[in-house]
Symmetry: C2
Subunit: 473 residues, 2 copies
């Protein structure tokens, strides 16, 4: 089953009227915290992905859990959709008002509520971004490792089960969210989980809400695990004669159990774009950007092991970045790859693939797809959290050439089919949103999707929480 | 809210008739795979816990997913409960036929279906035990770390979100189950998850089923993560002048981020019982039993760090067990603590507490409870996966003295209330079953439990899957 075509996405499939009475009630309750200005609505009606839809009818800026409760209850009275909004950095159309409704912006709920350094946990409001969180805890000797690239909000990261560059060592939001406060569809507040590291107390509501993309509840507090800042950190770049050599180095590193903290593939296209964008002189060959965390002895041991593996596959000698400044510069290059790529083709929109496969299948999945991408003639870049078997092709589309989008979606269809056949998933970290609904059915099967839908219907009988995402409903 | 009293548990709360027509249909479909013999039913009507109820009306021995489907469908036709049964080693009354019905024994579904050593995963049938699994993969250089003590089945471990001694380093079943095959209440087969290490593809049905105690589906396949056997393993025992000294050593070890693989507290009572049972000469003082995994350098580094911490708190010099034989003997002592304790008071039944708190609160939670246990006069032992903040008091009750049970439950009530006030959970790893339903409401709140119940009703509208567990329904 293929992804929906762009034209299907341009208008709401089931627009619901937002009665003036609701807008009046929101204005009365929220005053200046509620806006119906077109610019505000348009800014809240899109994300960083390439899909578009008419904007929501109003935006409520929540400043407290009580605000969230009241907004959800008012929307519920009129059976009008509510779309939670954090930093707006999602990629799969998660924030689009495809069934109309209001946007519920929690970005002003950005406080750190409790730093429990002795337990390696922190509890925050959902609007705080990951960079702001790390800034707030910088004196504790701890850090929050999950890094999806964008400076996403913690609530949004939980809602989409985000991961990114450090996940190979530290896990994803699935492993790192300990507890949530959630406003349900009826406007009730519940808590899922405790600060205990593990629990067998009933259904795992925390993990059910994590990755539910705003469809089961609005996250109003997040408790996450923190980690001691590693005693030693070293970053290295290694260039390879081919993507295959870089990928095989990664596979062997993981299979040997090296606890590498980051191992990012950057293809030659990306390096070229990053060099231009960030005024760098990186060698324009496929490369791995790696980071090692641990004691000085452990870091050295890990790096030596990986250097040996890389050499076997023709990799060059590691270039090291041992000072924080050098590391920051290198990682900025990685994080800017997306923007560097988009700027390399003025006016383009990027669509990003997100397959993830078992590590032994990574070469099988990736190399054939590179050949197909090269053959298509569409400009693209390739980056990946390859230690997890997850990678992203970014196709740079001219919106004036609809055939390019069709061709890029066809490439993605093939890639997803290949990943599923290899035991993988259509989405390692971006989520389903609107764009991957068809792929989800291919991957999980109709029975599992029916189970998801039954849960949604049980917990949100009016279908007001971010409707039209993950599955058709 | 307190745990139910024993008398509430002795008879089914809502017994449902098992019509002769169902028994006839099961006999016709399953032949010798179905038994109504009292001895077989009685063996399947209890677990390792102390609660009792009348046995199920029949036991079906499934040998395939199709068998499970057919048994569930037949039970569904008559709206009769189905209780999945693996190794029978649960502790909270999970297997008791409190609403009547049939037991569905999957222990004959014990095959390894696929060893994917290159991906560090294995897929098994639910009846295989953890020891049999590790035996089956011993030539791969990999191992499955989750060790709840009992030689539990993988299906049961998934169903109860088991953890145990290695969880401090390797996580629990929550972190280590990648995918499941599940037979739903309607007899349909679904698959949750893939072999990819991470995914953002829709609701996390894997984590929803893990820990659902057989109430949402019958697990028929389990895919779990494996780990490379560590290059070096060292086990050490350290005796301490007090429980507090052992606990504070543990807290500091975790807070420093030492990646210790196991750190088990064994109190002086337990050591005495184990010495008698296993003919050992361990020093009868509170002790920590530790294991370090990694490269030789890393293991040495970890051990030196922990020895330093222990010395600060008055711990003795580590006694090392570096050969596999010595390690096995030590860990057998730990694993036999339960049986050693039960044998120390002939005829007794043990009830085990299972609180888990954030690591900084471990001393606060544990030490006051030790004082209360000592004051009660009831024989007890104390063991714990203290690196996770999880510990178990085992109260050894004379079933002929009902007052002892009342007193032990009162001690547990106090302990749970204390753990919850400290941000912890009533159950780190044993699950809710029948015994902790009241505690679950205290911990999660009525709203969260109502959400669990709504999910249950949506996925099992006839309430046939292990009814009467986790919450009243």
């Amino acid at each position: 089953m293929n992804a929906p075509t762009p034209t299907q996405l341009l208008s709401p499939t089931l627009p619901r009227a937002v009665p003036q009475a609701l807008l009046d009630a929101l204005a009365a309750r929220f005053g200046a915290q509620c806006s119906t200005a077109l610019a505000v609505r348009e800014q809240h009606g899109r994300d960083e992905g390439s899909l578009v839809a008419p904007p929501p009818e109003a935006v409520v800026f929540a400043q407290s859990t009580q605000d969230v409760q009241d907004a959800v209850r008012l929307a519920g009275e009129y059976a009008v959709p509510v779309i939670p909004y954090g930093a707006g950095s999602s990629l799969e159309g998660h924030l689009l008002a495809v069934q109309g409704g209001i946007s519920l912006d929690v970005s002003r709920m950005d406080q750190v509520l409790s730093i429990d350094a002795d337990d390696l946990t922190v509890t925050v409001q959902p609007g705080i971004t990951r960079k702001a969180l790390n800034e707030a805890i910088k004196d504790t000797g701890l850090f929050f490792p999950i890094d999806p690239g964008a400076d996403a909000s913690l609530g949004g990261m939980a809602a989409t089960r985000a991961s990114g560059t450090n996940a190979v060592r530290y896990g994803t939001m699935r492993e790192n969210v300990l507890a949530l406060e959630v406003v349900t569809a009826s406007g009730e507040v519940i808590r899922t989980g405790t600060r205990a590291k593990k629990s067998a107390a009933g259904y795992d509501l925390t993990r059910l809400i994590v990755g539910s993309e705003g469809t089961l509840g609005v996250i109003t507090e997040v408790t996450v695990r923190l980690y001691p800042l590693p005693e030693a950190v070293s970053a290295a770049v290694c260039s390879f004669p081919s993507i295959e050599a870089a990928v095989r180095t990664t596979i062997q590193t993981i299979q040997l159990g090296v606890p590498i903290a980051r191992v990012e593939l950057i293809d030659a296209n990306s390096v070229r774009m990053v060099n231009q964008h960030s005024k760098l002189n990186l060698r324009e060959e496929p490369m791995l950007l790696m980071e090692f965390h641990g004691s000085p002895a452990s870091v050295q041991e890990q790096a030596e092991t990986v250097q040996e593996i890389a050499s076997e596959f023709g990799g060059n000698a590691f270039e090291w970045a041992s000072t924080p400044e050098e590391r920051t510069r290198l990682w900025a290059a990685r994080h800017n790859a997306y923007f560097a790529a988009v700027q390399s083709r003025p006016g383009c929109r990027a669509i990003s693939t997100d397959t993830c496969v078992p590590i032994s299948r990574l070469a099988d999945c990736l190399l054939d797809s590179v050949a197909e991408a090269d053959a298509s003639g569409i400009p693209y870049f390739l980056v990946g959290h390859v230690g997890d078997g997850n990678f992203h092709f970014g196709y740079l589309l001219d919106p004036n050439i609809p055939a390019e989008r069709v061709a890029a979606e066809a490439l993605n269809d093939k890639l997803v089919a290949r990943a599923l056949a290899l035991g993988g998933t259509c989405t390692g970290e971006h989520g389903v949103g609107i764009h991957k609904m068809g792929f989800l059915v291919d991957e999980a099967g109709a029975g599992a999707v029916a189970m998801m839908r039954a849960i949604k219907q049980a917990l949100d009988p009016q279908n007001i929480l971010n409707p039209g995402k993950i599955f058709a409903l």
